[in-house]
């Protein structure tokens, strides 16, 4: 059985030569829910953008048995649902329906299949009534849900979330946590929200300055306050 996500000694530097990822290796099994935590600039977002080949560094990234490269890009992007931190970046169509339909339409699926995918994705995030609304005018929490629906409609095998709870009020945050807990997909979530991490992700990976500095059960790592403090994290 192959892993859902396999990252093998990945290195990446931005054009200004600042090393953003240094020898990063990470294995995530199908169905696992893993949190990626670390301070700002630790390399979390950079790592996430490697998982569907938007950035490519030195090393190997394999998603669901497909090695990420020029030829597999299309398949990899269909397998990895990437939810960006700012839902405004993800919602670029005039209506919610068109945004959620973008992925399946791009894949060239039939009209009926697309409609079915949109309906089920919207109902999965409990936003079925919003199909004809204008994405631009929704609240932050609503936009976040639509952003998640817009990747769920691709039936991804892996859901990758960048700061899923950033900018949400407590009620929207709570609703999102319940929603994510129910989704039966492999999940990798980058976050500073350690309370959400404890609730949602049994396994936790800590990154700092481009390195993975710890990887283990969330409960155990959370008790190591020295470790958390050393990497700019705070248990709340």
């Amino acid at each position: 059985m192959h892993h859902s996500i396999e990252v093998e000694s990945l290195y990446f530097s931005y054009p200004d030569d600042h090393p953003a990822l240094v020898n990063v290796s990470l294995h995530i099994a199908p169905g696992e829910k893993v949190a990626l935590v670390g301070p700002n600039g630790a390399g979390k977002s950079t790592l996430i953008l490697h998982l569907n080949g938007i950035l490519t560094g030195q090393g190997r990234v394999t998603i669901c048995g497909l090695e990420v490269g020029e030829k597999t890009l299309g398949r990899v992007r269909a397998a990895v649902g990437l939810v960006f931190q700012n839902p405004d970046d993800q919602l670029f169509s005039p209506t919610v329906y068109e945004d959620v339909a973008f992925g399946p339409l791009y894949q060239g699926l039939g009209a009926e299949e697309v409609a079915a995918r949109v309906t089920s994705a919207l109902s999965a995030v409990r936003m079925s009534d919003y199909a004809q609304r204008v994405s631009h005018h929704l609240s932050m929490g609503e936009k976040k849900r639509i952003a998640i629906a817009s990747v769920l409609s691709m039936n991804p095998e892996v859901l990758v979330l960048d700061e899923p709870t950033a900018g949400l009020d407590p009620r929207a945050r709570r609703g999102l946590i319940y929603l994510l807990r129910e989704l039966p997909v492999t999940m990798l979530g980058a976050s500073h929200d350690l309370r959400m991490v404890s609730e949602l992700f049994p396994r936790m990976v800590i990154m700092d300055e481009g390195h993975i500095v710890a990887d283990g059960p969330t409960g155990k790592l959370m008790e190591d306050e020295k470790l958390l403090e050393a990497h700019g994290l705070e248990k709340t």
């Binding site: 931005y14 990437l82 670029f92 699926l109 631009h136 990747v151």
Partner: protein
Amino acid sequence: MHIHFLDPYRPHISPVHALDGRVKFVLTVAFILTTSLTPVAAWPVYVLLFALILAVEILSGLGIGYVLKRALLALPFVLVAFPVIFTNGDTALFSFPIGSWMLTAHAEGLARFVSVALKSWLSVQAAIVMASSTPFPELLQAMRAVGIPRLLVGMFGLMWRYLFVLADEALRLMRARAARSGQSALAGTRSGGSMMWRARVTGGMAGNLFLRAFERSDRIYVAMLSRGYDGEVRLLPLQPMAGATWGALLAGLALLGLLLFFGILFWG
């Protein structure tokens, strides 16, 4: 993650980089004025002007290739002057028919066209050297120093500041689109969608970007108001220029003035 390539400034240690931004700004404008006021077909003056800008390029350490490659930007605009070859002058060079029309090229027109082309090429080079060797804030200061209205300078500054934010935003939008542009595992499906649909999506993105720029400008204005902005742009006073800097400015102006005088005297 950010877009930097829009910024033409190339940091480097050279006498041209070290020169006061105000001097560079004034001399560049003077160079462009001299070039455009030099009479048509004053070839030796063009050669001298070219030698001058070439010397500055070498001195700046930017590389002649770098400047010349970017100077090709002037090429499409030069085409506007193309018709003067046929409309200007009496000495016919050659003619050819287009339909029922007879087009005749004239020697005077040709000289004028080549002059226009050379002049724009030289002017663009001067602008490139200035923009590549002077950080933008210094250019803004220079604009203030020569008396361009502060509101206008303030607008240039804001435009510069938010151009990058907007470009970053566009980059993130395109990234999010790429992330959802997958390929189905099902046999017989062709990914990409139709041309029309893709055009519609791109149109939606452009509209979205416009709306966001619009809203951001509102938020920026509110943030300015809340810090006491009352429609008047207030800036720190400018540093006085040192004696040597004045010297460089006057020497540059004198040289350009001499070239212009020379050109008008013999070819005007």
